[in-house]
């Protein structure tokens, strides 16, 4: 049962390519839209269609590419990684802007839950804090192998190596989903993000190293 449910990205990507948001996305590039400032607006002009599956109603809100350079794995008893966000791009119907360069990092990861803290700067200048919690679960992963990790013993005088790589999705298929929580200024057009649940989809890409997140608001 679990193997069957692991990764339907190919199927889902196929669905997206077959229709999905093709009509809505180009209009979202670049300029902020009036509809993006109204959190209560539903089905307003310029917003993608509301969709529904298994009783969950959801809608594409925006996308973010986050670029990385350094990756440090700290082999603590509960593994931890440190991967700073060196910058990035934000586009879509409800938020546009950039990822603040070196505004934070993923401090979780390392095989455990993602726990990233960094900053967006909206195109209107407002700062938005993101705490992105999620997982990157290898397809076919056997949970019982997660216990009692062993590290190769160090040779006499050997320095520990703490660099690691996070391969592209095309090399190592992942199902990466996140559940971000945002803090935006209460008196800004982004206040709706303070009280809306989101779902994130992460796609690892290389050259350059980055992750493209697709965020849905759960309606």
């Amino acid at each position: 049962m679990s193997g069957n449910g692991l990764d339907r990205r190919e199927l889902l990507l196929g669905l997206a390519a077959a229709g999905g948001f093709a009509a809505a996305a180009p209009a979202a590039m670049g300029q902020p839209q009036a509809s993006g400032t109204n959190g209560a607006a539903n089905g307003a002009a310029g917003l993608p269609p509301v969709r529904e599956m298994a009783g969950v109603r959801y809608r594409w809100a925006f996308s973010v590419s986050v670029f990385f350079k350094e990756r440090v794995a700290i082999e603590a008893p509960y593994r931890r990684a440190f991967v700073p966000a060196i910058g990035g791009d934000i586009w879509g119907p409800r938020l546009q802007g950039e990822v603040v360069p070196y505004g934070g990092a993923d401090f979780g990861g390392g095989g455990g839950p993602l726990d990233a803290h960094y900053m967006f700067r909206a195109s209107d200048g407002h700062l938005i804090y993101i705490n992105n919690r999620g997982y990157m679960r290898r397809v076919g992963w056997d949970p019982s192998t997660a216990l009692d990790r062993r590290l190769p013993p160090l040779a006499e005088g050997e320095r520990i190596t703490q660099d690691f790589i996070a391969p592209a999705d095309s090399e190592v298929p992942l199902r990466m989903r996140t559940s971000p929580f945002f803090d935006a200024p209460a008196d800004s057009p982004h206040d709706w993000m303070n009280h809306t649940l989101f779902i994130g989809h992460g796609l690892r890409r290389m050259d350059p190293d980055r992750t493209v997140f697709t965020y849905y608001e759960v309606l």
Partner: protein, 150 residues
């Protein structure tokens, strides 16, 4: 400022799709509530006194020692925080941690982080989180319907 961006990342075909699959439903029953004013806002305590789970996990909510410790914010929204133990019909334990929003308009959505024993038949939940949609189930009871995120 020229920030990092790859134009082809904005290809509409890369607006990745997600999906949802029903996983389980949890009904929580409360027997006690208290609220205290704190520097963070109003901390709302609900003692979880029982309940049930159905769907891919069937069993009961462990009635002693679980609770919700939500925060009433200044804008009327409640930051929901719940800690729940489930026991399935074979006696296996499953831990749920709910975090999300309860709004005055009835919107009640949580993300749930779940832990099960790696030897358990519920080990499929490991490493995943779930989306929960909450609704009242009685004067002192709520039901949360959980979906796996596909």
């Amino acid at each position: 400022m020229a920030n990092l961006a790859i134009p082809t990342d904005r290809d509409p075909a890369l607006v990745a799709d997600v999906g949802f699959a029903p996983a389980f439903s949890v009904t929580l029953e409360y027997d006690e509530q208290a609220q205290m004013q704190t520097p963070r806002g109003g901390r709302i305590y609900h003692r979880i006194a029982g309940g049930s789970v159905s769907g891919r996990i069937t069993g009961t909510v462990y009635p002693t020692g679980a609770g919700e410790y939500s925060l009433q914010r200044g804008d009327g929204v409640i930051d929901h925080r719940g800690y729940v133990l489930l026991r399935d019909e074979a006696g296996e334990w499953v831990y749920l941690h709910n975090m999300g929003y309860q709004r005055p308009d009835g919107y009640f959505r949580v993300t749930s982080w779940v832990d099960a024993d790696v030897r358990s038949r519920h080990s499929w939940v490991l490493g995943l989180f779930f989306i929960g949609i909450g609704r009242p189930a009685g004067p002192k009871s709520v039901t949360i319907d959980y979906c796996e995120v596909l």
